[in-house]
């Protein structure tokens, strides 16, 4: 009864276009009022304590670093460098799009930033090269979803705040799956290639050209190496790495590429701060909501329910993935991570199912990455139909084959643990 009231309130409020953070707070209050031993003041206390964490600092800092380095004109140079690798192919722009997004995922913390960075440069160029616009936008949207899985990733940082999982290990666990997804998306891009119209403009590979583009892109290429190198060697924590990333990208954009003025710098500071506030206001009330669910013993009940349904590991894992795919169609990634990550973790890591916490985390991220591309609420669909200037219905059609590939990838990630865990064991084993 209590749970019905709480989740009912949440869904009704969300449907009424109430901001997500307000809906989560409202549902928590309803639950607390109905619960015999919960107190209202704890709703505010848990909201504040929920964002009082050093781990969470990494999120706004990585977002700021990503925005700074993008404003500095890194996109074009990085794309130019990736282009070097695929100059041989008629379809090079499509592959550059996919692998460029993978590299970008390694710089920025958010998938929408990846779309904006890659799409605004490559979609017009692909159009010029004869690719149909929905195809170009579809490739961009699909490949941006890699940003959630390749570190740094804001959802992974949030998972670290909601549970005791190590953000660093989650980061490392994301590399293998990130590469798998990039390869599979490139494969789909090739299978669904436009039959005609693409003008081949192969650029001859030359050592000279390689030297020039590598030199130009070097500061951007060094970025992920410095950040992850620092984390892996234990020199700094994820949060400290984020702070180093901010200073590094500021130096690169202002002094090396010289495309970022101080005025633009302040605008980026303000916008990144507001973005962080929008995300963290959800974090705050979602943490209060999560605390209430724990008090009401929801995780235990759900665990019993799911394991009572079946205790075959593969079936339980499949049920979790399906649940995340369904919820991902209408929910934003931030509240999904904050509410569901801690609830599902005890199920996944229970002796009956036996998933490693890191493997669970990476699988979870893969499953919610699909949600970025599925209607009615797929953030990447909105962003990319806007960038490409096409109706989102066209984009949904173009993106569908990529979504199928992503779902297959998620299953591979879920049922082939070494893909995520081998690098983790190598560095931390």
């Amino acid at each position: 009864m209590l749970l019905l009231a709480v989740f009912g309130t949440l869904f009704v409020l969300l449907l009424l276009r109430v901001p997500i953070f307000v809906a989560l707070g409202g549902a928590t209050i309803v639950g607390v009022v109905l619960h015999p031993s919960a107190s209202l003041i704890d709703v505010v206390r848990n909201s504040i304590n929920g964002i009082d964490s050093l781990v969470l600092f990494a999120a706004p800092l990585f977002v700021l670093a990503g925005n700074l380095i993008l404003a500095g004109g890194v996109s074009r140079r990085l794309i130019g460098w990736v282009d070097l690798l695929f100059g041989f192919s008629r379809m090079r722009l499509a592959y550059v799009n996919v692998f460029g997004s993978m590299f970008f995922g390694g710089i920025s913390g958010s998938a929408t930033a990846d779309s904006a960075a890659i799409g605004s440069v490559l979609v017009p160029e692909m159009k010029k090269g004869g690719y149909p616009t929905p195809y170009a936008a579809g490739v961009t949207a699909a490949s941006s979803s890699i940003g959630i899985i390749v570190p740094p990733s804001v959802p992974m940082i949030l998972a670290g705040a909601a549970t005791s999982v190590s953000v660093t290990k989650l980061f490392v666990g994301g590399y293998g799956p990130g590469l798998l997804i990039a390869v599979s998306l490139a494969l789909v891009a090739w299978i669904k290639r436009p039959s005609s119209g693409v003008t081949a403009d192969p650029e001859r590979f030359s050592l000279k050209r390689m030297g020039i583009t590598t030199y130009k892109a070097a500061p951007a290429l060094v970025f992920p190496v410095v950040i992850m190198g620092g984390i892996l060697t234990g020199v700094f924590t994820a949060t400290e790495a984020a702070a180093v990333a901010v200073v590094y990208s500021l130096l690169v954009s202002v002094f090396i590429y010289r495309e970022l003025g101080w005025k633009a710098f302040f605008t980026i500071l303000k916008e990144s701060a507001e973005f962080a506030a929008v995300v963290f206001s959800i974090v705050a009330t979602a943490q209060a909501f999560g605390r209430f669910l724990t008090l009401a013993k929801v995780p235990q009940q759900l665990t019993e329910f799911m394991l009572g349904f079946s205790n075959i590991p593969a079936v339980v894992i499949l049920m979790m993935i399906v649940l995340l795919l369904i919820i991902g169609t209408f929910m934003e990634t931030v509240p999904i991570v904050l509410v569901l990550y801690p609830i599902l973790e005890p199920i996944a890591t229970s002796p009956d199912v036996g998933m490693d916490p890191i493997h669970y985390g990476v699988t979870f991220m893969g499953a919610i990455a699909v949600g970025l591309l599925t209607p009615p609420y797929g953030v990447l669909l909105f962003v990319n139909s806007k960038i490409a200037g096409i109706p989102s219905a066209d984009l949904i059609k173009a993106v569908l084959p990529f979504v199928v590939a992503l779902i297959i990838d998620v299953l591979i990630i879920a049922f082939f643990p070494p893909l995520s865990l081998a690098p983790v064991n190598f560095f931390f084993g």
């Binding site: 409020l13 969300l14 449907l15 009424l16 276009r17 109430v18 901001p19 997500i20 953070f21 307000v22 707070g25 409202g26 209050i29 209202l40 003041i41 709703v43 505010v44 206390r45 909201s47 504040i48 964002i51 009082d52 050093l54 969470l56 600092f57 706004p60 800092l61 700021l64 020199v235 700094f236 949060t239 400290e240 984020a242 702070a243 180093v244 901010v246 200073v247 302040f266 500071l269 303000k270 990144s272 701060a273 507001e274 962080a276 506030a277 929008v278 963290f280 206001s281 959800i282 705050a284 209408f330 929910m331 934003e332 931030v334 009615p376 609420y377």
Partner: protein
């Protein structure tokens, strides 16, 4: 924005003044946000440098950023109140939905002002372990931010009444583009 007055002089109506006041307040608060995020990044970076290069650390470099982050979130919550917060976009925007949504938003914000104030007073005796700063500084961010959000929310309600009234005053609700 001010409609020309019959006498030819420019007279601002009350709604215009509110809109202007909100924009000004938001501009000032956004400046504060930039300072908070910039300061936060700088502090964290200096801490890394101190720790690994000079092998010492600033004693307050953990607790002060923690206070700053909470203020950043609650001040930012207020400046983003008008159309920038994430919503689920399944139901189409209708007038009654907007009204209900605003009422619920106000209810939660008032809840945060009320209980946040009680909480901030209640914890005034507690201090953070190293800097000995009162925990009230941290908790006061919530009621302050919620109060600012209410203040800036007046503009949204004015817009709502305006868009309902017939005549040249009716225009977009301002919440269309997030």
């Amino acid at each position: 924005m001010g409609r020309p007055h019959p006498c030819g002089c420019s007279v601002s109506s009350a709604p215009d003044l509110i809109a202007k006041g909100s924009r000004g307040t938001i501009a000032v608060l956004r400046l504060l946000l930039a300072v908070l995020l910039g300061g936060l990044s700088l502090l964290m970076f200096v801490q890394v440098v101190m720790r690994y290069v000079f092998n010492s650390s600033i004693v307050w470099s953990e607790e002060v950023p923690r206070i700053m982050l909470i203020w950043l979130v609650f001040v930012g919550l207020a400046t983003t109140m008008k159309g920038k917060h994430l919503i689920i976009d399944i139901v189409r925007e209708r007038r009654w939905v907007t009204i209900v949504s605003i009422v619920i938003k106000w209810a939660l914000l008032i809840f945060f002002v009320w209980y946040g104030t009680i909480l901030a007073v209640k914890v005034s005796g507690q201090t953070m372990p190293i800097t000995k700063i009162s925990r009230s500084w941290q908790y006061a961010a919530a009621p302050t931010g919620a109060a600012l959000a209410l203040l800036l929310g007046v503009d949204e309600i004015v817009d709502l009444f305006r868009s309902s009234g017939p005549g040249p005053g009716s225009s977009d609700t301002g919440a269309s583009e997030a």
